[in-house]
């Protein structure tokens, strides 16, 4: 799953560590979500979207089958 986390982090001038601190996870978790290696829970996806002032739909690019 592709995400726009990196792009939005850059817009708000946030590092991975800043975002991790905001949503209460480890920095590596943000890294793996950005790389598409880890699918977050719905709660974490919601928290990240809120921290980046966006919605889950705009943050995560789902493959439409």
């Amino acid at each position: 799953m592709k995400t726009r986390i990196k792009e939005l982090r850059a817009r708000y001038n946030l590092t991975q560590e800043d975002l991790a601190r905001k949503v209460g996870v480890r920095r590596e978790t943000i890294l793996f979500i950005e790389k598409g290696n880890y699918n977050p829970s719905l709660q974490l996806a919601h928290d990240i979207a809120q921290a980046l002032s966006t919605t889950i739909d705009e943050l995560f690019l789902f493959d439409v089958k």
């Binding site: 560590e17 991790a20 601190r21 209460g24 996870v25 480890r26 920095r27 590596e28 978790t29 793996f32 790389k35 290696n37 880890y38 699918n39 977050p40 829970s41 974490l44």
Partner: protein
């Protein structure tokens, strides 16, 4: 606070394991090759556990959680692999040891092998999944 408590408990457990190994080696007298192998595996496990603890301490010091939903999921997956390894090692270790080393392992040997193999598989698969991301 909860994370700090878990780290302290982990450090106490690791210290306890090291002390137990130390007293075991001191009282063992003449040490055989299979004992060296078992103690070696235990020491490797302690080293890997210390790495995981150090990683958690590093995160807590930065104000980040020691564990989160990803590491908890990894623990569950690694636990499953460790459980499978425990079952298979209990079944196959007597079959493998007898032709290879020429003696019938008793219950204590098999129990030691099961504990060490499952712990080894747990730690190695945890670290592999940790590096891979999921």
């Amino acid at each position: 606070m909860k994370g700090k408590k878990e780290i302290i408990v982990s450090i106490v457990v690791v210290a306890g394991v090291l002390l137990t190994l130390f007293f075991y080696l001191m009282s063992a007298g003449e040490i055989e090759i299979n004992q060296i192998v078992l103690v070696g595996i235990a020491l490797i496990l302690v080293g890997l556990a210390m790495y995981i603890i150090w990683d958690r301490i590093r995160n807590v010091q930065k104000g980040l959680p020691g564990k989160d939903e990803r590491t908890i999921t990894l623990s569950h997956k690694a636990g499953y692999y460790g459980f499978m390894a425990a079952i298979w090692s209990a079944v196959f270790s007597p079959m493998i040891i007898n032709p290879l080393f020429g003696y019938e392992p008793d219950g204590g040997d098999v129990a030691a092998i099961v504990v060490l193999v499952s712990a080894f598989v747990f730690v190695v698969s945890y670290l592999y999944l940790y590096r891979k991301g999921k």
